[in-house]
Symmetry: C2
Subunit: 597 residues, 2 copies
């Protein structure tokens, strides 16, 4: 029952039919053929389904163990499964060939990541964090740092971490207190404690490269005093071999709701003489450098949510098709599978339609990332980046919020069995629940969208996306079969534009200003997520309709047409209600006194 | 931090101001004064806060232990906390004096139950199940059975269970296979296995009275072959003392997502000579007799959801007022409590407004239960029962679905801390997640509402409630301060009436029939829940407004006015979207082929 098959068919539909393999025509991808992409997806599906997925439940049960010497032992099989991934060359598929990777488009790398997270989210976090470290070093590291660390990180022989949070510095990183004391040789000695460090210590790789936010003793208070430092677990000698163990240790691991297979560590830097570290990038620009890598990490957290949602779907479908209970209201026969009951079918379709829509949107964003990096024309690159900037907070928040709901529905489909841990449905809910929290809470994402991203260009980038939604709505309206979908989608686009105007107007109002943007942010992001997902499903409906009209008897298209119908006519209306929420204003929020309870 | 204070102030607001102590004027409650009610609530709050609540987290960590001899040991302190409850006379407060109880109104008993579930949901399940057994025996037991079992159950010296589910018989109880073989002395010997038996075995009481669905060897297939049997853990001698251990044993306990302090047992009946049992009520009417008690148990499960939601609220408020992070967008000062951030405040207000609204609705239903049992006029009793019948599925489903969302928001308010088990927020989410599943899944509740309850009276009882909603909307519209709330509430009432018409029409259509009712059921219940909760908050807004106008400076009224504003203007719109969902029809659901994935 606890089974995972990577959704290759749907990923191929998105890449080939919705995105029409646009990324492959960009400069730099001349040698990436559709056949190569297909082969990569099939191989990744094998790794995910055969090597990673079987460890998902056992990793949850066993968790990680911290030894008295501060070492952390992973659950059985995790180190080997990670090594199979690294040895297969998967860690570098999205990294440029210049850095030792395979330079595949982001749409392909993102697709593979979804499979890995769906197979085993706790294990998937390890390469996700390494990718962030690669990104930070590639952008901000010195040539010597790149030469020393990048090849091993890209290979996956070493893994990476992001050390941001301290007990007093969570969403507000300006409060970071970890000290970095300059040494005569140009290095630093770090002292301090970091919490919630994902894969901060483990036994799956030879070395761990910690990227750490810290401040020099004489640095100013606040953001401007923070720099980024590289602290290896084992120091690296001139010849590239490993030297002394550095003064960074795992003080404890957390007892968490989920992702038990992922070691979440408290790291102590400098309990003896100080952890030796090296500054990465400019002094005082640490937060800025970290956010370079966080933006993409946020996209990947959204994809992680989609991976877990997909697994929850498969699990629920398998159970509902197998579990016999009650009389079919359709055939009238007794002892029908519960998928015959329309209320169960509603849950299944809701899970499937949402997961498919989220995937299409996340991969659309990946295609824009490809454009932003590889388009020949600078203006095209900038325009794509502007779309990416708007899409990423939506994908991070909306995908992860929805993943929690989808996993929760998956529990419900199982009835009493869903509440029993051995069934596996509950683990997906527990695992999924972290994603709205880490890499910037979903509330922070909403503020990023409604505040920074929307206010800085007056909504221009989002307006461009709304116009694309409207074009899809027009295409739907032009076909009698899809006219109702077109009407609903056009209504959604109009709601999003009106809400955007309200948020922009409130943000520009000196009386309301930041207050209003904060109050409207989450409803606004929620509306945007619904409309953009419905847009993707509108395009999917057109493609599926065309395939069916052309005589295809692939049941995939029929199912896709049904998912699209559900997404646009039964899911979108709930999101559209957020326009009314925003227009009702924020009086109650601003006046609310949380102490008067 | 992990603290619970029973919400006596808000319960009193609902009982005194919203319900105007209507239950106290009914025949039979002549001696129940407002002062007595207040004293009962205060004492219950002490038991909940001081005795039960401190065991909530430790019970979750420790769980229950099954010994090799089949006995089950509860978490430390649970047996004593249960005994303190029983010795305090709490088990019988809602039971009639004729049966040895205190005969307090249901509004009071329900209020006390909310406190106990909020304090410790796992422990609260024990008396909840006993209450079901009392109800079943009181209605269907013989005089001898009542005399033997009721006094001890009402005292709480013995506890009760409901044995329905078997592996192949979950939502479809017609598949029950447990056999009851008649004996010459009129008793039966039971053979079979029951699963998911809440508090099926434990060490907190002298005896456990199992009520068991089973069928005689010659009984017909299906519902009509099922009878209800009483199977005591220890046989009871003629003099009322305990005799032999009966042949019913705990074969295993479940490893669940939450409510770890509550032993969920697989019970084996008749591994030796058969478990001695006695038929309760009529042969072949077992399901019917069981549903007598399930209807009220469903009300109590809704209340259980509210209890956990309340605790999640208190936990989140305490954290948000304490946790310092970031610059206040309001005062501009750094290091503000996170409750100053409007996006956090939105979460807090959303949790508070929903919890208050659900409580008011559940206690309104309790007041109707009082009317249905105690009103002097038979017509009034019948009308109240009709309202109860419609309200109970809404309260069970909507309260528990919302409780999961509220507890999940509570995790989110805590940020990274929320994901760490020691914080306690995650436990509430894990605990709350069972409530949409047991006592009839929320999907079953929706079918009960949209199918049986609505179709049998053509919507008359719900129409009566909608008219009450409209009366509240009119009262709001009559005050300039509340006019916007009145408009929104009136819109909600209109949406609910339109959706009801659509469901009735579809149900009466021979082409659509049961299919349509199944497809519309959950969206319809969701809409009804939103509108009925908003109705309660509309009344709360009027009362709070009147108190403020009369010069009250109690901050409670200000907070209530804000919660009401949020509930009606920012929460109700999301529910109202379900009208569009229903009107979009069910094409996609009926056509959806779950195998074509």
């Amino acid at each position: 029952m606890n089974y995972y098959a990577a959704p290759v068919r749907d990923i191929r539909f998105v890449l080939e039919e919705l995105l029409e393999f646009g990324s492959l025509s960009l400069p730099g991808f001349e040698e990436t053929s559709p056949d190569l992409v297909e082969a990569v997806l099939e191989e990744a599906a094998k790794l995910a389904g055969e090597v990673w997925a079987p460890l998902n439940a056992s990793g949850d049960r066993q968790g990680c163990t911290r030894r008295d010497d501060g070492s952390v032992t992973l659950a059985d099989g995790f180190a080997e499964a990670y090594q199979a991934y690294a040895e297969g060359g998967w860690n570098g598929i999205g990294v440029s060939e210049a850095m030792g990777g395979q330079g595949l488009p982001e749409v392909v790398a993102s697709s593979v990541q979804e499979m890995l997270h769906g197979a085993n989210m706790a294990l998937g976090l390890c390469p996700m964090l390494t990718a962030g470290a690669i990104e930070a070093l590639a952008h901000h590291g010195s040539e010597a740092q790149k030469a020393t660390y990048l090849p091993k990180l890209v290979e996956g022989t070493w893994t990476g971490t992001m050390n941001l949070t301290e007990p007093q510095a969570g969403s507000d990183l300006s409060k970071v207190r970890t000290r970095a004391v300059p040494q005569e040789d140009g290095s630093y000695r770090l002292f301090g404690q970091k919490i919630y460090i994902t894969w901060g210590e483990h036994d799956a790789a030879e070395n761990i490269i910690h990227l750490v936010l810290a401040r020099k003793p004489d640095a100013p208070e606040g953001n401007k005093g923070i720099s980024l430092f590289l602290v290896p677990k084992f120091l690296v000698k001139e010849d590239g071999s490993l030297g002394e163990r550095n003064d960074v240790t795992c003080a404890s691991i957390e007892h968490k709701l989920g992702i038990h297979g992922s070691p979440t560590c408290t790291l102590s830097f400098g309990e003896k003489d100080g952890a030796i570290g090296y500054r990465v990038g400019e002094e005082g620009r640490g937060l800025n450098h970290m956010f370079t890598m966080m933006n993409e990490a946020r996209h990947k957290v959204g994809i992680q949510g989609i991976g877990v949602a997909e697994r929850a779907c498969q699990h629920a479908f398998a159970y509902a098709l197998d579990r016999v209970q009650g009389r079919s209201p359709r055939s009238g026969r007794g002892d029908c599978p519960i998928s015959d009951h329309l209320d169960v079918r509603r849950m299944l379709l809701s899970m499937r339609a949402r997961t498919d829509a989220l995937r299409a949107l996340a991969l659309t964003c990946a295609a824009q990332l490809d454009l932003a990096r590889h388009a020949a024309d600078e203006g095209e690159r900038a325009a794509a980046q502007a779309r990416v900037d708007v899409l990423i907070p939506v994908i991070k928040s909306f995908s992860t919020d929805q993943a929690v709901e989808i996993a929760s529905l998956g529990v419900q489909v199982h009835g009493g069995m869903g509440y029993i841990e051995e069934t596996g449905a509950a683990q997906m809910l527990r695992d999924a629940r972290i994603a709205p929290i880490y890499e910037g809470t979903n509330g922070i994402q909403a503020l990023d969208l409604a505040g920074r991203k929307l206010q800085r260009d007056g909504g221009a980038a989002l307006e461009g996306l709304i116009e694309q939604v409207e074009a899809t709505a027009d295409a739907l309206k032009a076909s009698s079969e899809h006219a109702a979908l077109g009407e609903s989608l056009a209504g959604g686009a109009a709601d999003l534009r009106a809400a955007m105007a309200a948020v922009l107007e409130a943000g520009a109002d000196p009386e309301q200003g930041a207050d209003a943007v904060q109050a409207y942010a989450t409803p606004f992001l929620n509306l945007a997520g619904h409309v953009l997902c419905a847009w993707q499903m509108g395009q999917a409906a057109l493609k599926a309709g065309a395939a069916i009209a052309a005589g295809s008897d692939d049941p995939f298209y029929q199912a896709k047409a049904q998912s699209a119908d559900y997404a646009i006519r039964q899911w979108l209306p709930v999101g559209r209600a957020q326009r009314a929420v925003i227009e009702a204003g924020m009086v109650s929020l601003a006046a609310f006194d949380a102490t008067a309870q």
